[in-house]
């Protein structure tokens, strides 16, 4: 039993914290929300140089060979800074699914390029009538000789507008259960028939609608076996949920820190408002939620790193983190008062993002049902 970070992990955390402070001020976060690309290529290259884009890839794919736990540590810092950009979509979604489901040739051709910052990836799962990511897949990939023709609409595809490759989930069997009839494809974003349009969301990050009309996909670009894509997609969504928990925990911590500072400095009724127990108890509640959330996230990430079964732990972590972050933004708004509602304040960024992250990869209710399924079938 050991609840501490290793020396390398502490270094990673420190480096990430310093990097985020220097490179990711809130002015940049706001600027990127209005920017067409939504990220700074120069910054992206710096992250590649630090080894972060290949953090979870083995060294033979020019990665760092880090664990999922390392990824979680990095994401916690990024989440605190609300680091904008295609890190999550490229590394955690697109990168991870190629790493886990890809064949040797696919891994060799994509992962080093991701690690070096040469290509951006994303994952297209969600469709307009889905309540949660994996609810409904109607996009279709029809076999023509040994290649496929892709047809369908995907929404909420993160950073789809800048992705070089879109990993897309589509039905390859019209009838029957989704778990037996979908496949995963790596689609070149510049293939014919693809239209990408940015959509506005509460989180103000770059999400896109992606239309596939008669888009040809080489049979070589299928990830895993034909009709066997469900398990791969499900696996990557659950792991991404854990990764997102770390990002959210970082946000919760930052929201708490901002509230703490405000409570110490703001004087009302002749004393700093932090001397009032009503305020103190809100701060305590944030910390109580956060400590548990971090423990649950690390535990799930550790299970993933060890290669053990993690479904229950991942669901527990996402259920907790989702409510904890959103709750923290509510408590923080109450502490920080009216100024926190003004757009120039940092709170609106967190307030919006907490809600977006809550619904992404399943909210607490969704994950509680997964837990119940694990317990009762």
């Amino acid at each position: 039993m050991d609840f501490s970070l290793s020396e390398e992990q502490r270094m990673l955390k420190m480096t990430a914290r310093r990097f985020c402070m220097k490179e990711c001020p809130k002015t940049m976060v706001r600027e990127m929300a209005g920017d067409k690309r939504g990220y700074l290529p120069g910054l992206w290259q710096k992250m590649a140089d630090l080894g972060w884009l290949g953090l979870i890839f083995p060294t033979k794919y020019e990665g760092v060979g880090g664990s999922f736990l390392d990824l979680v540590i990095l994401l916690e810092e990024m989440g605190g800074a609300l680091m904008p950009g295609p890190f999550f979509s490229t590394v955690v979604l697109g990168g991870l699914i190629i790493l886990e489901a890809g064949n040797e040739q696919q891994k060799e051709s994509f992962l080093p390029k991701v690690a070096n910052g040469e290509i951006l990836l994303t994952l297209a799962i969600t469709e307009p009538n889905a309540r949660n990511e994996m609810d409904s897949i109607t996009a279709e990939a029809q076999l023509h000789d040994s290649d496929f023709i892709l047809e369908g609409v995907k929404v909420l595809v993160p950073y789809g507008h800048v992705a070089d490759y879109i990993v897309c989930i589509a039905r390859t069997r019209k009838e029957g259960k989704l778990s037996e009839g979908v496949s995963v494809f790596i689609v070149n974003a510049r293939s014919q028939g693809i239209t990408v349009t940015s959509v506005n969301t509460i989180g103000q990050d770059k999400q896109c609608e992606v239309l596939f009309r008669n888009t040809p996909v080489s049979g070589q670009n299928i990830l895993g076996e034909l009709n066997d894509g469900w398990a791969h997609a499900d696996n990557v969504v659950q792991k991404a949920a854990v990764a997102l928990c770390a990002y959210m925990n970082g946000g919760t911590e930052k929201v708490m820190d901002m509230s703490r500072e405000h409570a110490m400095n703001k004087v009302q009724f002749g004393q700093c408002i932090g001397s009032f127990q009503a305020i103190q108890h809100r701060l305590a509640d944030m910390l109580i939620g956060l400590e548990a959330s971090k423990a649950l996230t690390y535990d799930a990430a550790w299970k993933i790193s060890e290669g053990s079964s993690y479904v229950m732990e991942a669901a527990i972590a996402k259920a907790w983190a989702s409510e904890c972050y959103r709750q923290a933004t509510w408590l923080a708004m109450g502490i920080q008062g009216g100024v926190a509602f003004i757009e120039e304040h940092d709170m609106p960024l967190y307030y919006r993002w907490a809600k977006a992250a809550e619904t992404t990869f399943g909210d607490a209710e969704f994950h509680r049902e997964i837990i119940a399924r694990e317990l009762f079938g």
Binding site: D2, F3, A284, W320
Partner: protein, 400 residues
């Protein structure tokens, strides 16, 4: 990071579990919650399971808080009648080990480790509850003795248990320097509950357990039985505050796990419940809380085993744990529906009425024992978040 148990820890858990399988406790003294079996308690001592936190020279094992937590969790899971396990083995025992003279240590630690005595902390007073530093009980030095006068509240376990006449070792905090402000001039004394001059009046809790008001009327304590230095009792308690808030956490984790497992079985057997989305949401909510409590409980134990300051996490896990227990029994009773209100005497009581009992009993932990939800949050705000100290935090300077 490594969240699993090592082979030695797993083996220990297996051993304890198999020992407890056939409920090896014979007759139980029911006056002490959760029941007390002297023979079981001694058997635990014989196996070395009460000695993890103690030095080998007193007969302890010189192991760590993780082993202690594993054994306690299994005892809780089995519902073993271990009497005042936590106050004896952890609170009073650790205070003696960390602050006591060599003489007191050799007098009491071997007996605590062998499971021969029960002990309890006697701190609370009518005017010293959450603000424990306000203790008023007087202790006046007269020759080779201290003379104690005053009143203590909620002194559990100290009423004489007539059937077995178990001596209970009390650790009493009293004011030795009346001219000092709260939290100073306090000292701790060790004495048995049978000492002349102590009168108990029983307070029956809403859960049916008994606790006591104790009146001290010229109670004589030899000067050798002062624990630690005179006027430094508070510092000693604060230095061991992490043990004070522990409150037998791991045993209660076991209790929660047992309740959860029973409820899962109950729901599994009933299709209408098993398939009800609202029931499923509640059960999953319990599973989440349980997992959080488990992780944080062992995190505290691990921190203690490494000599780290676990106080900040201990206060946090106490809040989460207390709320989880109350939420569990509340949700569980909602799932049982109307029949859930039946007490254990009724043949129709689902799950033999244990949830009704838990719902009433858990109020103790949640609202009072060792700091209620408000006092703990004030502490967390001051100690962990750095807010102005206007409750607990201001007394902690002595601990640093």
């Amino acid at each position: 990071m490594e969240f699993g148990f090592n082979n030695e820890q797993r083996k220990l858990r297996e051993e304890v579990r198999s020992f407890l399988k056939n409920k090896p406790w014979g007759e139980v003294v029911s006056e002490i919650a959760p029941g007390y079996s002297p023979s079981l308690y001694r058997k635990l001592g014989e196996r070395g399971w009460l000695g993890f936190l103690y030095d080998k020279k007193f007969g302890g094992q010189g192991k760590d808080a993780i082993c202690e937590a594993i054994v306690s969790e299994e005892l809780g899971y089995a519902g073993a009648p271990v009497g005042s396990l936590y106050p004896t083995n952890v609170l009073v025992g650790q205070l003696i080990a960390n602050c006591g003279s060599e003489e007191l240590k050799s007098r009491y630690l071997p007996r605590i480790i062998r499971g021969e005595i029960q002990a309890t902390g006697v701190f609370t007073e009518p005017e010293a509850g959450s603000d424990l530093a306000q203790i008023q009980m007087r202790a006046v030095r007269e020759g080779d003795h201290y003379i104690l006068n005053g009143q203590k509240m909620f002194a559990s376990f100290i009423q004489p248990a007539p059937k077995y006449s178990i001596p209970i070792l009390m650790l009493v905090m009293a004011k030795t320097d009346p001219l000092t402000p709260p939290g100073e001039g306090l000292s701790m004394f060790l004495l048995e509950n049978t000492a002349p001059g102590i009168t108990c009046s029983v307070l029956v809790s809403m859960a049916g357990w008994k606790t006591n008001q104790a009146f001290f009327d010229d109670v004589k304590v030899p000067k050798e039985d002062l624990l630690g230095r005179e006027n430094h009792g508070w510092d000693c308690l604060m230095q061991n505050k992490v043990w004070y808030w522990n409150k037998g956490r791991a045993r209660r984790l076991g209790t929660l796990q047992r309740g959860f497992d029973m409820l899962i079985k109950y729901v599994k057997e009933r299709q209408s419940l098993r398939q009800d989305p609202l029931v499923r949401q509640k059960i999953a909510g319990m599973a989440i809380d349980l997992h959080a409590v488990r992780l944080l409980t062992y995190r505290v134990a691990w921190m203690q085993s490494k000599g780290l300051d676990a106080l900040s996490i201990e206060a946090i896990v106490k809040v989460i744990h207390d709320e989880a227990m109350l939420k569990f029994s509340n949700w569980a009773m909602q799932i049982l529906g109307l029949m859930g209100q039946l007490t254990k005497e009724s043949e129709y009581a689902p799950l033999k009425g244990v949830l009704e009992e838990a719902y009433v009993g858990e109020a103790l932990r949640h609202f009072y024992d060792g700091g209620g939800p408000c006092a703990l949050r004030s502490f967390i705000a001051a100690y962990n978040v750095g807010m102005p100290e206007n409750t607990w935090g201001k007394y902690l300077k002595g601990a640093e």
